[in-house]
């Protein structure tokens, strides 16, 4: 569902259950959680609650169950702020089976218990959001990317949420219109292959990456990789503007902004396009084209694998590298700001930070319309931001892998079966489900 439909479909959520409310004063909680193996009630006799607080044993796969329920039944509820952002799915044998297989804790909910839950939601900073259409998910990733190199790919695979890989030919061929949600792999949209040419000179993986990028550029008739990536970035912006949901992490966030702002100026070093960066590039950047950032300054040294001062942590700049702290999720009003609330559903309010080539976003370079979803209190940077563009939205999360804080090249891949309750990965999966929501127009 594109955002225009998303925002256009008014009032259905929550009202459905409000109409059906009996007004009975129900008390007491639900059954103790089981892994889908609770005695099965007669079909249609109740619902299954997927708790997302500490009673949940596998938060990440719970998103897969919810996604599957949306896909099958066309109706699932996301109970924002209720027990860590729980899901309410129809009590069907297929969902119980899936939960049992995945090790996801579920609780049977009778109609009476449901009334009590809804009463709690009504009286607190909570809301019930109807998820009604499983988003079609695309991941922008090179065909040669290893499967365990991108947190979103790993999260989707682990949660069993289907996705399609797209790359430059598909983007330029207009395929993005086929998808509701697009994730950007940690791509460098400045076309400089993360400026790793010196640090990792001679590394086979870097040579392969550079050659594949150059080959794609030639195949698509671009003079060089930076030129190709600028056009790809513009297409991605168009996708958002026309109603797409964009989620990006790590380098993709910062370099997408730079590539958009640098449409008419050379910001790539000579090793990437044969000519040095325009010495006056900073002044020539057109920030009106960018989605989230403004007034940033480029890193001019081609030997330093850093792009600009958008990133607060500067992990690859020895002179400016900042230590990792922890970031805190904002507590939004669920009934007034359900979109922001959806994006920050988590069973932990404070999450340890993690590095990426772009780890964070300096406050000074954010546009005033941006919404900060998570920040490190007192630090000059924020971690997680969101905003609108045209009929769509973009969401950026800094860092590479929430369960691999240092993320050094060559480190073994993250095995999510060892992190089934990862709060950081939950933020990624919130984004995947968020386009499934049908919701009232925002009030703020």
């Amino acid at each position: 569902m594109k955002r225009r439909e998303f925002l256009g479909a008014v009032a259905a959520t929550g009202l459905a259950w409000r109409h059906g409310r009996t007004g009975a004063q129900a008390h007491g909680g639900t059954d103790a959680p089981t892994h889908g193996g609770a005695p099965e009630p007669p079909q249609g006799a109740g619902s299954l609650l997927i708790p997302m607080d500490d009673a949940q044993t596998n938060h990440l796969k719970a998103y897969g169950i919810a996604y599957d329920a949306v896909r099958r039944a066309g109706h699932t509820e996301w109970l924002l702020n209720y027990r860590g952002g729980s899901f309410l799915v129809p009590d069907a044998a297929v969902e119980r089976r899936a939960a049992t297989l995945a090790g996801v804790a579920v609780e049977s909910v009778t109609d009476l218990q449901l009334v009590a839950i809804r009463g709690t939601i009504e009286q607190n900073n909570m809301d019930a959001i109807i998820l009604e259409r499983a988003p079609r998910v695309a991941i922008y990733a090179p065909p040669f990317a290893p499967p365990w190199d991108d947190a979103v790919t790993m999260a989707l695979q682990y949660a069993d949420i289907p996705f399609t890989r797209v790359w430059d030919p598909e983007v330029l061929g207009g395929r993005l219109a086929d998808f509701d949600w697009l994730h950007l792999h940690h791509e460098d949209f400045t076309g400089q292959d993360s400026k790793f040419y010196l640090t990792y000179a001679g590394a086979a993986w870097l040579n392969d990456m550079v050659q594949a990028d150059q080959s794609t550029a030639r195949q698509l008739r671009f003079a060089n990789v930076p030129a190709l990536k600028k056009v790809v970035a513009a297409r991605i912006r168009d996708y958002v503007e026309s109603g797409g949901f964009l989620f990006a992490m790590c380098t993709a966030t910062e370099t997408l902004e730079l590539a958009l702002a640098a449409r008419d100026v050379d910001i790539a070093a000579a090793f990437a396009d044969g000519t040095p960066m325009d010495p006056d590039a900073d002044a020539k950047l057109d920030w009106s084209r960018a989605m989230a950032c403004q007034n940033a300054h480029l890193e001019k040294d081609p030997a330093i694998p850093v792009f600009s001062d958008i990133d607060g942590h500067q992990v690859n700049n020895p002179a400016l590298r900042q230590p990792l702290g922890a970031f805190e999720l904002f507590n939004f009003s669920a009934k007034i700001d359900p979109v922001f609330t959806m994006l920050v559903q988590c069973h932990r309010q404070v999450i340890p930070d993690f590095y990426g080539v772009t780890t964070s976003f300096t406050r000074a370079t954010l546009k005033s319309a941006d919404t900060v979803l998570a920040e490190e209190p007192g630090a000059p940077w924020v971690k997680y931001i969101h905003g609108d563009l045209g009929q769509g939205t973009w969401t950026y999360l800094g860092g590479h892998d929430p369960e691999d804080p240092q993320h050094q090249i060559g480190a073994p891949p993250t095995d999510l079966s060892l992190h089934p309750t990862s709060p950081g990965y939950r933020l990624i999966l919130n984004n995947v489900l968020f386009p499934a929501a049908r919701k009232r127009e925002l009030k703020t």
Partner: protein
């Protein structure tokens, strides 16, 4: 404190010389600091400094407690006074710079540093202090500039190598870190441990580069190569590490002993025959360097390391001189004999071990004889000689001997008697592996439900003797004959033995039979899991997935379900 007491103390202060008063205040300050009484500690350190302005211990103490006590500004004043008394007081200079930086007075700190440099123009200390402050503040770039300045002014391209190494770590350039540490340990070997500590986290992909720097020929080769050996050991390459260290050992003396001891003790803690072999050789080399009393333990450790490396002959070679030495003291001989007997048992020669025990019984304490007797009994069990196993412990009344008698009874087919003895030995005592074997066997015997069954005893003895495949084949007809709950239990043992013996096809067939014929048995979840793994290992991922899903759904409460879910994630490609 009363007026008289105060008066007495004042009088004492007049009578005592200033340094003595300072020492008393210092002792009081350290006592207060230990109790966490920061304010009182600070006041006492200050009192000590008033008596001895240049006292480094008092200055550093005041610096330590100053922040908690709210005395941070005063620290700088006391440091300045000490410098006034002695402009070359390095501690005071460093405290002054740190104090000014800590209170945010960076320009004053820079001025203090400049004064320090002016007084000691050839010393790296001021630069080191400043670089370390920058590093602590996360300003790696500034620290790099400081080091560069120091190198230029002091005309030494390697000075402040440890600080520069920290700068390079911050930038993730591991080969540059290695370059710095190579210079660091060459000039100042005491940095070796710090260097190893800082280089050990280098990612796998960077390690060859690091080693290449450390092992390159040129100045500082020896210290750097020893560092490389240390790193190789930490990176679990004990063979390469030992080869390198052996070539670069310090000349005879305490340093050589320390290097060998450190290496051997670390290698001993690593798994694998390579590490144990390296440890054994290092210990053996150490034997000749240590005083005779200490060398006994080292020799035994060397033998044990050789044995753990699977080199029984070498182990016995190392021990033999001790056992055969008529002049060795009693304790030395008994330790050596005990170690030798254990080695012979492990080498599969209980007869030789028994002979050695008999010949030296008088040299061993009673409990030691029993312990060794039990080792020999277990050795006879592994050889299948039940009579000798029983005889080896006939006068031993310990719980462990009771367990061995239980095994003897089981292998003789006296299942009720054997099961009872194993139960009596308890579910938890002794080696965890042995305890698990006891519990599993008792469970099996319970499922079989026979008092005697010689064929089963004989089959289990085959496994004890290491012939898993023969045990598996022998168990299958017994399972068919026993029937009931015993049948799936025996079949699952047969399947495990088949797998352990390398007959994957037989194992798979047996697991499959259990899942199909005994789907509600307690063996079924384990059988489903094992079958799924077997299918996955030969590429039938869909078949494995079906099995795992069936297992999880049919046995959701089984303790094996988390394992099955992880396996399911793997076969579905959801995790690496």
């Amino acid at each position: 404190m009363g007026r008289i007491a105060r008066g007495a103390l004042s009088l004492l202060a007049l009578l005592l010389p200033a340094p003595a008063l300072g020492q008393a205040a210092l002792a009081r300050a350290m006592d207060m600091e230990q109790q966490g009484l920061w304010g009182l500690a600070a006041a006492s350190y200050a009192a000590a400094l008033r008596q001895e302005p240049g006292n480094a211990i008092a200055l550093l103490g005041l610096e330590r407690v100053g922040e908690q006590a709210g005395w941070r500004d005063s620290v700088v004043a006391y440091a300045a006074r000490a410098i006034g008394d002695d402009s070359t007081n390095t501690t005071a200079r460093a405290v002054e710079v740190r104090g000014l930086r800590a209170t945010g007075r960076d320009s004053l700190a820079a001025a203090a540093l400049a004064r320090w440099v002016a007084v000691e123009p050839r010393s790296p200390m001021p630069y080191r202090e400043w670089a370390q402050l920058d590093l602590a503040a996360g300003r790696a770039g500034d620290a790099r500039d400081v080091v560069a300045l120091a190198r230029e002014r002091l005309r030494s391209p390697t000075v402040l190598a440890p600080e520069m190494a920290r700068v390079e770590i911050a930038s993730g350039h591991w080969t540059r870190v290695a370059v710095e540490w190579r210079a660091g340990v060459t000039g100042e070997p005491q940095y070796a441990e710090a260097a190893a500590f800082s280089l050990r986290p280098a990612p796998v992909a960077e390690r060859d580069g690091v080693l290449g720097i450390l092992m390159a020929p040129g100045a500082g080769t020896t210290a750097a190569r020893r560092l490389a050996a240390d790193l190789l050991l930490g990176w679990n390459e004990p063979g390469r590490a030992w080869e390198l260290l052996r070539a670069e050992l310090p000349p005879a003396g305490p340093l050589r002993v320390a290097a060998l001891r450190t290496f051997a003790d670390r290698a001993r803690t690593l798994d694998g025959p390579g590490a144990q072999h390296a440890a054994a050789e290092a210990y053996e080399m150490l034997v000749g360097l240590e005083p005779p009393a200490a060398a006994v333990g080292t020799r035994i450790e060397s033998a044990r390391s050789y044995a753990d490396a699977g080199e029984a002959a070498a182990a016995q070679r190392v021990l033999r001189p001790l056992v055969a030495d008529p002049l060795a003291d009693a304790a030395t001989r008994s330790s050596a004999i005990a170690a030798m007997i254990e080695l012979q048992v492990r080498a599969g020669d209980p007869a030789a071990a028994a002979q050695l025990l008999d010949a030296n019984a008088a040299a061993l304490a009673g409990t030691q004889r029993e312990v060794l007797g039990r080792s020999i009994a277990l050795g006879w069990l592994r050889r299948g000689d039940l009579a000798r196993a029983a005889a080896a412990i006939d006068r031993d009344s310990s719980l462990r001997a009771f367990e061995i008698r239980g095994w003897v009874a089981v292998y003789r087919g006296q299942l009720a008697e054997g099961g009872q003895a194993l139960r009596s030995a308890g579910a938890m005592g002794g080696d965890p592996g042995a305890a698990a074997a006891r519990v599993a066997t008792v469970t099996l015997l319970g499922a079989v439900g026979r008092d005697t069954l010689p064929a089963l005893g004989a089959a289990l003895l085959l496994a004890e003797r290491g012939d898993s495949l023969a045990a598996s084949r022998a168990l299958v007809p017994i399972a068919r004959q026993v029937g009931g709950d015993g049948e799936p239990a025996l079949l699952s043992w047969a399947a495990r033995f088949a797998g352990a013996g390398g007959d994957a096809a037989d194992a798979e067939a047996l697991w499959r039979e259990i899942t199909e014929r005994f789907p509600t048995s307690s063996q079924s979840p384990a059988a489903e899991l094992a079958l799924a793994r077997a299918l996955a290992s030969r590429g039938d991922l869909q078949g494995a997935r079906d099995r795992l899903e069936a297992m999880i759904l049919a046995h959701p409460e089984s303790a094996l379900v988390p394992e099955a879910r992880r396996e399911l994630d793997r076969v579905r490609g959801m995790v690496p």
